[in-house]
């Protein structure tokens, strides 16, 4: 029944091939997505209402983004650092990690401009500081706000239930797409046993399947919710 070549043991020497870069990059992206578990923040006894904190955060981010005054940036930065210092070590560590990634990316992006024109140093530093403060603000908000309180605020702001539903489900289940992408890339790497001249095709295939599966999962979930009485009037979880 089985063909002759299947009965043989092959002494296989893999041909040289470079460019594992695509897979590695995508795999790390999948890894980040699969770690994006939505953690509900802890609210203290004397916390301001979630809506007020959301507005405050947006206002501060806009203020820091538009201002050209270094004193304002430093003042907001100092206030943010004080707020951060009042949090638990675990929360501080989580916020700082996210901030570090953002700052490193910003530095990498601005470095060539500064090297070519050193006069841009101060402007670049100002932008990096703005990024640092904005990401810290979002991090603090995320760690100190319960997700259901946030969706309640959006509801009060008369945002349609369907929009809140999409936001909620996207944040809650992006981790599943990350897992799927990682599994697909594992399958690619397990069968990438030699020289692949069509790497873009495989990468495109992985992205395509992830997109299709994501759409399908969304539809299946919506139908499952409809079967259990969901009427598009989403109050949040």
């Amino acid at each position: 029944m089985i063909p002759e070549w299947m009965k043989k043991t092959e002494d296989y020497v893999p041909p040289a091939d470079g460019g594992a870069f695509y897979y590695r990059t995508l795999k790390s992206l999948g890894g980040i997505m699969s770690r994006l578990r939505l953690e509900s923040g802890r609210e203290g006894r004397f916390s301001l209402p979630a809506g007020v904190r959301l507005l405050l955060m947006i206002a501060l981010i806009i203020l820091v983004s538009v201002t050209q005054n270094n004193l304002v940036i430093m003042a907001v930065g100092a206030a943010v650092l004080v707020r951060l210092a009042m949090m638990s070590a675990e929360d501080i560590s989580a916020v700082v990690k996210a901030v570090l990634v953002a700052v490193i990316m910003a530095v990498v992006i601005f470095a060539p401009a500064v090297i070519m024109d050193p006069a841009r140093l101060w402007n670049s530093l100002r932008v990096v500081a703005k990024i640092l403060i904005s990401v810290t603000l979002v991090g603090i908000f995320n760690r100190t706000t319960q997700w259901n309180h946030l969706t309640a605020v959006l509801r009060k702001a008369h945002i349609p239930g369907t929009v809140i539903f999409i936001i909620d489900i996207t944040f809650r289940y992006i981790v599943l797409l990350g897992n799927l992408m990682q599994d697909l890339l594992t399958a690619v790497s397990l069968r990438s046993i030699g020289r692949n001249d069509k790497k873009y095709n495989s990468v495109g295939g992985v992205m395509g399947v992830t997109f299709l599966r994501g759409t399908e999962m969304n539809k299946e979930m919506y139908e499952a919710m409809q079967c259990r009485g969901f009427t598009d009037d989403y109050e949040g979880l």
Binding site: W5, M6, R191, S192, R195, V209
Partner: protein, 217 residues
């Protein structure tokens, strides 16, 4: 001994419960080992270690006497040869199929092996014929049924002609006719000297095919 695990312990995260501790396992070349155990007992984790996708926290894993660890698999040539020799069928074939046609899916591995075009064509056609999926050659794998996906995934692994086949629940969801066909096919592979490691709960298949059973949990 083709595969040997010595005192292997594994946990997914620091501080988490270990999936297994001090696990010893030996698999001889040309034999079939059935791996059984309840859901969550660590069968897939064991298979991931055998395939070099996860690494033990303690103990070591040897393939043909060579320790398989991150350092070994960092070498591109070693990693590719290792993955060529061990074929792995995932429990969920959905996550194995990423090409735009069934033909390309099966040809993905052989095309990379430096074979001549006619040899690749022969391998792919043989596999499609063997699994009776020739009529699906131009279809998009994503749109196939669950059973068809499993067949395509298995064909794409078999096309690499691996020495060891690690199959995670290959009989799940198959009707009795297909199950009987797969048992016969695996028996032929075993007779041809291939080593089989299969996760299954089906006792009659274990009795029929396996030379030994390894129970987890």
């Amino acid at each position: 001994m083709i595969i040997e695990l010595k005192n292997v312990s594994f946990k997914y995260e620091k501080g988490a419960e270990p999936v297994f501790t001090d696990l010893d396992l030996k698999v001889e070349e040309g034999t079939c080992l059935a791996v059984t155990g309840d859901n969550g007992s660590g069968k897939t984790t064991l298979f991931r270690i055998i395939n070099g996708l996860s690494f033990p926290d303690k103990g070591e894993y040897l393939y043909k006497g060579t320790v398989i660890n991150e350092a070994y698999l960092k070498d591109n040539a070693c990693s590719k040869r290792f993955h060529k020799e061990i074929g792995y069928l995932f429990q969920n074939p959905d996550t194995m199929l990423f090409n735009s046609s069934v033909y390309d899916e099966v040809a993905f591995g052989p095309r990379q092996m430096g074979l001549r075009d006619e040899e690749v064509e022969e391998r792919v056609r043989d596999c499609l014929k063997l699994f009776e999926i020739e009529d699906l050659a131009d279809k998009v794998p994503y749109h196939l049924s669950g059973g068809q996906k499993k067949w395509v995934a298995l064909a794409s692994v078999i096309a690499l002609n691996p020495e060891v086949l690690v199959l995670d629940e290959p009989f799940a969801g198959l009707d009795s006719k297909k199950e009987a066909w797969l048992v016969d096919f695996l028996r032929e592979l075993k007779a041809a000297g291939k080593t089989l490691i299969i996760a299954t709960h089906k006792e009659e298949i274990i009795k029929d095919l396996a030379d030994g059973t390894f129970m987890l949990g």
